[in-house]
Symmetry: C2
Amino acid sequence: MATASNAPIGIFDSGIGGLTVFAAVRRCLPHESILYLGDTARVPYGTKSAETVVRYSRECAGFLVERGVKALVVACNTASAYALPDLEKRFNVPVLGVVGPGCEAALAASERRSIGVIGTAGTIASNAYGNALKALDPGVRVVSRACPLFVPLVEEGWIDNEVAHAAARRYLKGLKEEGIDTLILGCTHYPLLAGIIKMELGDAVRLVDSAETTAHVLQGMLEGRNLAAQAAGPSSSHIYVTDLPARFESIAQRFLKGEVPSITRVDL
Amino acid sequence: MATASNAPIGIFDSGIGGLTVFAAVRRCLPHESILYLGDTARVPYGTKSAETVVRYSRECAGFLVERGVKALVVACNTASAYALPDLEKRFNVPVLGVVGPGCEAALAASERRSIGVIGTAGTIASNAYGNALKALDPGVRVVSRACPLFVPLVEEGWIDNEVAHAAARRYLKGLKEEGIDTLILGCTHYPLLAGIIKMELGDAVRLVDSAETTAHVLQGMLEGRNLAAQAAGPSSSHIYVTDLPARFESIAQRFLKGEVPSITRVDL
């Protein structure tokens, strides 16, 4: 059975950070319907073991595949880093993570082939970005740094105060001294800290956010497989979460900067 | 069937913070065996909804009750705030949370009956401390403040740098101005930040950590029910976790400041 081109795209994340990918896909592919799943009952993934992240990712992907998605986007960097090969083997739909597109964008942006990567403890420990960058360009220099406090800072809404600045200064000091010219924001929350990261590193360092590139790679993938939605068709999107805490909708608003689709709590 | 007095005590927490309670119980009751469960695969609880926290707490308590514990200590403040009545109804062993003992200790320490409470978003939203303090002393004044960044700061090991100081200054400013004379550290991670909290609030404000008081209340509860271990008996303790991330043992070491019992990963 061929997957219908009017089937929705599935996007999952450990929580709400993946809504930056949701927003980019909605901008780039306005005729597509999207089912988004945020595993907010078990967020974050970035501090957990590879084994646990793979197990959770399977459950998230399975939930979306059961709902008939034509393609899967793993919006969580930690899940992309640990679980992509497992999901590709296990599910019969194209699977796209954010690590590959982020690396392509960084290599296109970097002139000196000296690239920094920041992410959660899990993403950095996996070395997924380093391996993918070296596979694309063996001569590239990669400097990685885990920034565990950046996610809670964004969720607290502290993206431009003295606490955020002090944390950014501490995490990024070493990277600045390494002379990178491009920095991959290897976590979906980090684009919200782009302002203070730029202040710390200076304008000479380009920031790469994988959300936009992921949307473009997804577009090419769908077109290449004749899975793109017909322009005339109506699109409809939905957000599923495994927990619905008090401030969820206001935080979602911050990520989506616009219309928030209807939200349903589900058990995996 | 009467519960044997040589059965272990069960302690659970959303993660590793409850090891401060484990350590206090071990000091206060050296002849008792302890089974500790940290739900590290789903940590934290403090940002999640009441419904989800109650469900997780039931699963944690059930795991320990199945292993024959003679009493349950809910070391997590958020779980104590939301789930205690449910656990008391559901399980046939005495259940002790950390909120009640923390309130008793605070009322004993406060001279002006003006008490501050800091905790996770969930603990503060529940108003469990406020309600319990008012039930014990209707004339007490209570000022509460959620400090969501304190847990990630402790887990990052940033307990005395400029980021921790800036966060403490921002969270505690209002409390200082309210003229409290006692502050309840309503989260098991917070005692590790006692140094900077004291610097911010000054020596006139007494800090109350519920771990010690909880151990003493537990002692009274066991003696009152003839459940205290016999002094001659050997004790043995064990730690269970639902995830075993890379740095778990080093973080556990920081909380226990001494011998770390053997650790097993389990699924709930």
